[in-house]
Amino acid sequence: MHIKEELAERHVLTLTVDNEAGTLARIAGMFTSRGYNIDSLTVADISEDHTTSRITIVTKGPPPVIDQIIAQCERLVPVHKVTDLTEAGPHVERELALVKVQGSGDQRVEAMRLADIYRARVIDATVSSFIFEITGGPDKIDTFVTLMREVGLVEVGRTGIVGLMRGSEAS
């Protein structure tokens, strides 16, 4: 007998939660304890009075598992609202990355040229390195990082995804 893998689809969930101690641990731990995947997770305080945070989770699973993930999130006391952006319709996803490359001569020029094409900004420079700041969808950032590997990539920091519904309504 061998362990079987199930077909999974990617979903972006946003959660409105109470900004209190332990909320992130409660949510992240629930994913672990029930065997769900987290591809990325971002969290930040979003309300004027600092009582509410918004969490964006990118997860993978077969549709019934995604449905169960949403239900299990809703079951947690500090979670007020869960939206499946992938299911809800048109939405935007953005991520920010900082990308450090090191090199000289043609390699350095090529890095700069590619950064320009991808609209990455230089936020730090030395005679032998750059740090680029780039925002975009995850695919764009993946591609940019892949290109940078060819021209002296040193390290990358990524924020993970945040997302909102398109249009005038709140998600």
């Binding site: 101690a21 332990g22 641990a25 629930m30 304890s33 019934p64 809703e74 079951r75 006391v77 007020h80």
Partner: protein, 589 residues
């Protein structure tokens, strides 16, 4: 200790005093606990009041299970008070048990002072971290001014919606420090539970019920949790429509076992008629149950042709394992009442369901609960039957441990009322029964409370005999002693060609001598013809009794759906046992 200036209008109280005030406000009359360094201020506050009775257990696991027994039998939340570190970790099994069986419970744990948290202080454990995923919610209270609001919200969370355990971790300095608090102050409610069902869905459900040719009610612990009105509504609805009723282990008593529509329990050790009816029904009403793997058997073969309606208060129970056609998120008692109203409003008449009942009669004729009789040894099923016969008029509360004895009790003891059957269903915790019986007896001082036990399980919390002695609780422990961890042995016979790896109960104590050592009465019975008299002797004794019922060592629990099998593939008796299974089946629990 406080640095806030005194306000003469609102008296200052210590965290421990505020806690006691809040418990009284919530109607708590009994607390099960065990003192220790980090809860001494609370114990001192308890000492100075008279409204709350404290039951001193012998191990914190016993406190948690006793609180479960109290809660399950009274419908009120059980309250546990334990110290930090080992006190809290010992209670974790009971917390996880209450979480899986949806038992309302408040667990108050002491914690090291906030200034020491994180320093690996004496008896420090991350209680909030440890209990985060086996409780419905938990708190670490860092200021006595927050205690009242926290306790109030905790009781609401524990009791509303799908009930469950809530842990409140209180550092020692928060118990000592004072706060200006008006405990009447209100807190915003951020916890909402489902109530009434959507009438569109209810109308559709009633329409399906009125037109079904082979309907079935599959009921669960949710009906017990919803309250006695839910059991009453279920009985009324079943009578109105004439459909058969089966129940999970947790739901026994919601519909009376003496009722005409009763099919017996369903699932792994359920009856043949219940499981066949589940497989063959055309419309299934799942009422406050959750399609647990012990109920469904092999998922792809579970009731393949039925239209499934699932009423549950917890949306995460819907479509978790079985996809249903009509989900209704509501309090199950309210939803059943709504169904009755619609049924009566539309003047539906019950269908004869003649063909359906004829098929059920055929399955009943298999007499799946029959067992080989014996005149020279006590069959365990016979022992339960005789216990039932001797006690059925006394409305006993029955608790169990976990294993064969538990399933035999579920099969052969019959319940006509809710809150009379306390068993560890979801977590399957050996050692549950004796402390749960103590908790139930505390809640019902005049009731007959019996723990039906196995000789292995009873040893897991046997220290609680001392608790029963101390509080003069006349609990009866009825041990089906076959000298084996019977269910483990049964699975080894079914799956591992009878290689009995560590399943023999060696070096058993002399249970009668043990009973006497604790100031209990001990009774031993080895012969079937002496059983009735021995049970009568147990019942006549005004005090705790340990009954060592020596039963057939070889008996196994049937019928049984082996793991990985469908409802239609029940093993009815031991002759059909094959001796091994494929790896897919072996991998299932």
């Amino acid at each position: 200790m406080n640095i806030i200036e005194q306000d003469n209008k609102v008296p200052e109280k210590s965290g421990a005093e505020i806690l006691i005030d809040c418990l009284v406000e919530q109607g708590v009359d009994t607390v099960f606990g065990y003192p220790g360094g980090a809860v001494l201020p609370i114990y001192d506050a308890l000492f100075q009041q008279k409204k709350i009775k404290h039951v001193l257990v012998r191990h914190e696991a016993g406190a948690a299970h006793a609180a479960e027994g109290y809660a399950r039998s009274t419908g009120k939340p059980g309250v546990v008070l334990v110290t930090s570190g080992p006190g809290a970790t010992n209670a974790v099994t009971g917390i996880a048990d209450a979480f899986l069986d949806s038992i309302p419970m408040i667990v108050l744990t002491g914690q090291v002072a906030t200034t020491l948290i994180g320093t690996d202080a004496f008896q420090e454990a991350d209680t909030v971290g440890i209990t985060r995923h086996c409780s419905k919610h938990n708190y670490l209270v860092k200021d006595p001014a927050d205690l009242a609001a926290t306790v109030r919200e905790a009781f609401m969370i524990a009791t509303k919606g799908r009930p469950g355990p809530v842990v409140i971790d209180i550092p020692k300095n928060v118990q000592v420090a004072t706060a200006r608090t008006d405990i009447k102050s209100n807190v915003p409610n951020r916890f909402h539970a489902a109530g009434e069902a959507d009438y569109v869905a209810i109308n559709k459900a009633v329409d399906l019920l009125a037109n079904a040719k082979a309907p079935i009610f599959y009921t669960g612990g949710g009906i017990i949790n919803s309250g006695p009105h839910a059991s009453a509504a279920l009985r009324e609805l079943a009578e109105l429509c004439g459909a058969p009723v089966t129940s999970t282990l947790m739901g026994l008593g919601a519909y009376p076992a003496s009722g005409d529509a009763w099919l017996g329990m369903l699932g792994m050790h359920g009856t043949y008629e219940a499981n066949m009816a589940m497989n063959q029904c055309d419309v299934m009403f799942c009422l406050g149950a959750r399609f647990d793997d012990r109920v469904t058997g092999r998922l792809d073969a579970f009731s393949p042709d039925s239209y499934k309606i699932h009423i549950d208060i917890d949306r995460s129970s819907i479509n978790k394992t079985i996809r249903v056609d009509l989900p209704i998120i509501a309090d199950v008692g309210t939803a059943i009442r709504q169904m009755i109203d619609v049924w009566k409003g539309r003047k539906y008449k019950p269908q004869p369901l003649t063909e359906w009942w004829a098929r059920i009669k055929g399955w009943r004729a298999v007499e799946c609960l029959n067992y080989p009789a014996s005149t020279d040894e006590i069959m365990p099923q016979f022992a339960i039957e005789r216990l039932f016969a001797a006690t059925k008029d006394k409305a006993p509360i029955i608790t169990t441990e976990v294993g064969q004895h538990q399933m035999w009790a579920a099969q052969h003891f019959h319940f006509d009322a809710p809150n009379k059957w306390l068993t560890s269903g979801g977590l399957g915790t050996m050692g549950y029964g004796l402390p749960a019986a103590i908790g139930a007896q505390m809640g019902h001082p005049d009731a007959l409370v019996i723990d039906i036990a196995g000789e292995a399980s009873i040893q897991m919390n046997i220290q609680e005999m001392g608790t029963a002695t101390q509080y003069r609780l006349p609990v009866k422990v009825f041990i089906l002693n076959n000298e084996w961890m019977g269910m483990v042995r049964q699975w080894q016979e079914l799956t591992y060609e009878s290689r009995y790896s560590e399943s023999y109960s060696d070096s058993l104590p002399d249970f009668v001598a043990l009973a006497e050592a604790y100031g209990w009465k001990g009774i031993r019975c080895e012969k079937p013809e002496e059983l009735d008299a021995a049970i009568a002797e147990m019942l006549a004794y005004d005090g705790p009794v340990m009954f060592d019922c020596r039963v057939s060592k070889k008996a196994n629990c049937f019928p049984m759906i082996p793991s990985g099998a469908a409802h239609t593939e029940m093993i009815l008796n031991s002759d059909e046992v094959s001796g091994t299974m494929d790896d897919e089946a072996k991998a299932l629990v």
